[in-house]
Amino acid sequence: MSKVKVARKSTLIDMTAMSDVTVLLLTFFMLTSTFVKKEPVQVATPASVSEIKIPDTNILQILIDPMGKVFMSLDKQADMVETLNKVSGELGMSFTPEEIKTFKLQKTFGVPMKSMKAFLALKPEKQDEILKDYGIPTDSTDNQFKAWVRCARATNPDLRIAIKADSKTPYKVIKDVMNSLQDLRENRYNLITSLKKESAN
């Protein structure tokens, strides 16, 4: 009889404690997390000893890939819409509410204005795929980059400009971007880098 009783004993492990721990961890991660932004190009930032952290909000990030293509991102969707309206107004273009809605959902934008309409009509997956082939024109004849920065500044005066470029980017491209910014009297900006541990001694 006693043998039968032993066989019936179930081997349930009490998962309550485990559950407590996981919930705690989950809460921690949810509260501390800032999501990695989806970027059209992989950029490896150079390392520096600078220890200033970049603020979270009011950032106009300029992304420069090793080939010299320029992309931009704003952290507030309302700003993005306003900026798009201003830029398109300058160029005598207009967008339908649907197109604006699609634009608003972009994490990073960087399409020449003349291809913008065709680009916004595409499916989101397709957009991600071809965005990396575009880039905002920065040449002197058609400097849409300047227009974007000017309009973004007009929309939000508190914006801070941050340049994130790949370490292999030729200085020529950086120079063009910096020159455009200087022309707009944007003389203060941040360069995004990653941390390097090194001391003066």
Binding site: S50, I54, Y171
Partner: protein
């Protein structure tokens, strides 16, 4: 913990009721833990815990209206010009270069033994003062605010060198950041990123050709 004992009113029941007495409702938390683990994994993979670092720089204005006399003049003895070129090479000259002598543009490197030694030796006064301050701060004798204020004051002191960074088109972004990094490491407060001029490009070329272009230097001197 996660079980409910259902042993109420056992005494009133007869016979078969004794089985119900022992029964307890175990809530199985395993699926819950599974789900939590999945969510944790998701959050861990999708977050960037470390925020990226940033370097703040101020650029000179591009405004053409600024008159020549309004521009900041730099003493020749205090000026160091770094010329960043392709292939991770870095050159420097102090004060005014001698266009006739191709060796006035000296080759250095981004290694600690290279440009850093030079800059530190030119900036010994400020560096030693800042080191004293750092020590004081470590001993908690001065507050963070005082520390930053005093460091800024020392960096902009009278006898500190002024570094002009000029990058050729062939240089990479990393070279620029490395050069700016050296400014920070060597506690140099006055530095500027400037456009490279034809005179510097000439110096670079002349150095490459080991002085073959020296006879043309007069034309380049006054472009």
């Amino acid at each position: 913990m996660a079980e409910l004992q259902t042993n109420e009113g056992g005494g009133k029941k007869k016979g078969g009721g004794s089985k119900q007495k022992k029964m307890s409702v175990h809530v199985d938390f395993t699926p819950m833990v599974d789900m939590n683990m999945l969510l944790i994994t998701f959050f861990m993979l999708c977050t960037s815990l470390s925020k990226p670092q940033t370097m703040e720089i101020n650029m000179p204005s591009n405004d053409d209206k600024i008159k020549t006399e309004d521009r900041t003049k730099v003493k020749q003895s205090q000026a160091i010009t770094l010329v960043l070129s392709g292939g991770d090479s870095i050159f420097y000259y102090t004060g005014q270069p001698d266009y006739k002598d191709y060796n006035s543009l000296k080759l250095s490197s981004y290694k600690p033994s290279g440009i850093r030694t030079l800059l530190l030796s030119r900036n010994t006064e400020a560096v030693s003062k800042i080191n004293v301050l750092k020590q004081k701060k470590l001993e908690l004798k001065i507050s963070q605010k005082d520390f930053t204020d005093q460091v800024a004051e020392i960096k902009n002191g009278k006898n500190t060198p002024v570094v002009i960074i000029k990058a050729a088109d062939k240089a990479t972004y990393m070279n620029l950041i490395d050069a700016l990094d050296e400014m920070q490491i060597c506690n140099i407060g006055k530095y500027v990123i400037d456009k490279i001029t034809p005179a510097e490009l000439f110096l670079l070329k002349n150095r490459e050709k080991k002085g073959a272009l020296t006879q043309n230097s007069d034309a380049k001197l006054n472009p």
